[in-house]
Amino acid sequence: MLDTQLHLVNGIVILLAAGIPLYLTIRLKNDLRRLTAILSIFILIHAAYCWLDYFGFDFLSDGVFEPLSAAALLFFGISYYGIAKRKDNIKKMVAIWTPITFIPLMDSFTVILLLAALSIFLWLATRAKKIRSFQFQISIFIIIWVLGQVAGSLQDDGIIALSPLQGDIGLEIHVVSLVFFSIMVWLRFYYSHRSLIWLNTS
């Protein structure tokens, strides 16, 4: 019962986050439109995954849409890197150590995609050197998501034993990641917008 409610929360929270990049995609008329469109696609695929999970289509959600959303996030990371490279004149990307502590996770295609996306954003975050940067904050989101995946896998394999009352720990962490992401998207938009609306309001 708790799991169903958590899936519902996931579905609602991720759809709330979709509003901002969709709005920007509609309003923009330049090269950044592609980036916001890819972010929107990632969020919508992830929303489809959450809602399919809620309605009990486990194969479609976990087997198709979850890895697909991770792939979309990776593609977003690559596109983001391309634009940041143009803006920042990044010469080349150095190899990043990717922590692969849990060998069983290598089976998980989603985790591999997420780790690849995480490496891109972490690398860009280290260059930005700012906690308030998009790169740093999306890295935090991916880390929480990966932690949820890891915890879920360990629970499924029986390595982590929790009482039935505690439910699916992976799903619970996933909810945290999506709430974080949604708040991050809305706050970032609010502060970006606020800084440029003084012309009419001050």
Binding site: K130, Y191, L196, N200
Partner: protein, 128 residues
């Protein structure tokens, strides 16, 4: 767009009434310029230029558009005007002011959202 803020309206009127302020704004309308470039083009003395640029930034008629790294590794702010043309109409007790923005607002919002702007901060800098 219609300028609604009273403070901004007053600042625009003051900016247009002062020839030095107007020359400084003229220098930074079409391209982002450093303080030194603005001083060269506007032919305003150093101390006056710094004081007036600071005032224009405080009144949000100038913003830090980019931050450049100079040859010797120092950071240099490039300024640009926020507005590029005005249409002012005065009737009894009523000042109607129309202004054209000098940059793509949605682009700036998106750059700030993704931390892609050169200075990385969505806020207008108040220091030069």
């Amino acid at each position: 767009m219609i300028v609604k803020g009273e403070r901004l309206k007053r600042a625009i009127l003051l900016g247009l009434a002062d020839t030095e302020l107007q020359r400084i704004m003229d220098a930074a309308v079409y391209q982002s310029k450093s303080v030194n470039q603005i001083i060269q083009e506007s032919k305003v003395s150093h101390s006056t230029a710094y004081r007036k640029i600071r005032w224009l930034v405080e009144e949000k008629l100038l913003i830090v558009d980019k931050i450049e790294i100079t040859g010797d590794g120092k950071k240099s702010s490039l300024f640009r005007t926020t507005l590029k043309s005005f249409n002012i109409k005065y009737e009894y007790n009523n000042l109607i002011m129309e202004a054209e923005q000098n940059f793509d607002t949605m682009r700036k919002i998106t750059e700030n959202f993704f931390t892609l702007s050169d200075h990385g901060s969505p806020h207008v800098s108040s220091s030069i």
